[in-house]
C-alpha cells in the first residue's frame, strides 16, 4: 500500500499508463539484488531507488578508492576507505528513505550467493569481471531469477536481459578464459548503461514495453550510437544447455 508521501513522490510516473498505481505497488513489492556497488551499481541503484523499488540488497566487498570517483557516483570524496555498500546505502537512504537498503559487504561466490539472493526477486549484474559474472549467471539459472546484465569499458557498454529458460544466458557467449585487466573507462559509460539496466528492471516489474530478450544492446559513446545484436541460447552452453547436464 502506497502512503501519502509515496503518492506525491511518484506522482509523475503513476500518471504513466504503463505504471499507474498498480505498477507503483509492484515496484514497492520488489527487492533487487545489485551485485557490485561500483559504476554500474551506482547508477542502477540510484534510478531504481528514484523509481520507488521496495528493496535493494547491495553486495560488494570493496572499499571506496579515489580512482573510483570518476564514475561511481554514489561514492564521494569523504567516503574514501569506506565500504562501498555502506557509502551507497547512506546516499540512497538520504535520497529516498522509503527504499529499504541492505548492505552486504562480502565476496560474491558460489558459496555466498545462495544466501545472498534469498528473498530477492531479481538480480542485477553490476560486476566488473567475467568470472564473478558467470557465478551470478549460474545462480540466476539455478534460482530461476531474471538477470539484468550490463558491462562497460572505455566509452562503450552493453545490456541484455536474461530470463532463465527463455533467453540466452551470459555463459552462452563463453568461448574460454579471458584474463582480467584494469579497464579504462569514462564515467558516463556506466551512467548510461546502468540507466538502461534500471529501465529494463522497471519494465520487467510493471510488465511494460519490450525487454532486451535475446537482444544485446551495444552502446558506442564515441560514435554516439546504439547497435542491437541478436543472440540466441547456445545448445552446448555448460550453464543452461546440454553442456551443463
Amino acid at each position: 500500500m502506497l502512503n501519502q508521501e509515496e503518492l506525491q513522490r511518484y506522482d509523475r510516473q503513476i500518471l504513466l499508463p504503463e505504471i499507474g498505481r498498480q505498477g507503483q505497488e509492484k515496484l514497492k513489492a520488489t527487492k533487487a539484488l545489485i551485485a557490485g556497488a561500483g559504476g554500474l551499481g551506482s547508477s542502477v541503484a540510484l534510478y531504481l531507488a528514484a523509481a520507488g523499488i521496495g528493496g535493494l540488497r547491495l553486495v560488494d566487498h570493496d572499499v571506496v578508492d579515489r580512482s573510483n570517483l570518476n564514475r561511481q557516483v554514489l561514492h564521494w570524496e569523504g567516503d574514501i576507505q569506506t565500504a562501498k555498500v555502506v557509502s551507497a546505502q547512506k546516499k540512497i537512504q538520504s535520497f529516498n528513505p522509503e527504499v529499504s537498503v541492505e548492505p552486504r559487504e562480502t565476496i560474491i561466490s558460489e558459496e555466498t550467493l545462495p544466501q545472498l539472493v534469498e528473498g530477492c526477486h531479481i538480480l542485477v549484474d553490476a560486476l566488473d569481471n567475467f568470472s564473478t559474472r558467470y557465478v551470478l549467471n549460474k545462480r540466476s539459472l539455478d534460482s530461476q531469477l531474471p538477470l539484468f546484465h550490463g558491462a562497460i569499458s572505455r566509452f562503450e557498454g552493453e545490456v541484455t536481459t536474461i530470463i532463465p529458460g527463455r533467453t540466452a544466458c551470459l555463459r552462452c557467449r563463453y568461448k574460454g578464459f579471458v584474463p582480467e585487466e584494469t579497464f579504462p573507462v569514462i564515467g558516463v559509460a556506466p551512467g548510461i548503461i546502468g540507466n538502461l539496466q534500471a529501465c529494463e528492471v522497471i519494465k520487467y516489474i510493471v510488465e511494460a514495453g519490450e525487454l532486451l530478450l535475446n537482444r544485446l544492446m551495444r552502446y558506442d559513446g564515441l560514435k554516439q550510437r546504439f547497435t542491437e545484436f541478436s543472440i540466441k541460447p547456445n545448445p552446448y552452453c555448460d550453464h543452461c544447455g546440454q553442456g551443463g547436464s
Binding site: 557490485g36 561500483g38 559504476g39 554500474l40 551499481g41 549484474d125 553490476a126 560486476l127 566488473d128 569481471n129 567475467f130 559474472r133 550490463g150 558491462a151 562497460i152 569499458s153 572505455r154 566509452f155 562503450e156 557498454g157 552493453e158 557467449r173 568461448k175 574460454g176 578464459f177 579471458v178 582480467e180 579497464f183 573507462v185 556506466p190 544485446l216 551495444r218 558506442d220 564515441l222 560514435k223 547497435t227 542491437e228 545484436f229 541478436s230 543472440i231 540466441k232 547456445n234 552446448y236
Partner: protein, 90 residues
C-alpha cells in the same frame, strides 16, 4: 562481391583508423583474412595460436551472433560483419 567489416575502436589504429573495411570472401574467415592481407597487424589483435579467435572476440553477421564456428559462417554480397570485444567492466 563486397562485405562490410566493422572494426572495433581499439583495433582501428591497425587499420589506418578506419571503422569499416570492404572485404571479399565466401565466409567470415575469408573476409577477415582479406582485411588482414591489407592490414597485417590486425592478425595479432584477433587471433591467438592456431588461427583460433581470441576468447574475447565476438562476431556478428548482419547483427546476428555467428557463434559458434564464426569463421566458417557464409556471407554474401552486401552483408555486414561486426567484430566486437566482450566487455567486462562495471
Amino acid at each position: 562481391m563486397s562485405v562490410r567489416v566493422y572494426i572495433p575502436h581499439t583495433m582501428q589504429s591497425f587499420a589506418n583508423d578506419q571503422e569499416v573495411l570492404e572485404a571479399e570472401g565466401k565466409n567470415v574467415g575469408e573476409c577477415i583474412q582479406n582485411c588482414i592481407n591489407v592490414y597485417p597487424q590486425l592478425y595479432n589483435e584477433l587471433f591467438k595460436e592456431k588461427g583460433k579467435l581470441n576468447n574475447y572476440i565476438e562476431i556478428y553477421v548482419n547483427q546476428e551472433s555467428a557463434y559458434p564456428n564464426e569463421l566458417s559462417k557464409p556471407v554474401k554480397d552486401g552483408d555486414e560483419i561486426h567484430i566486437s570485444l566482450m566487455l567486462a567492466g562495471g
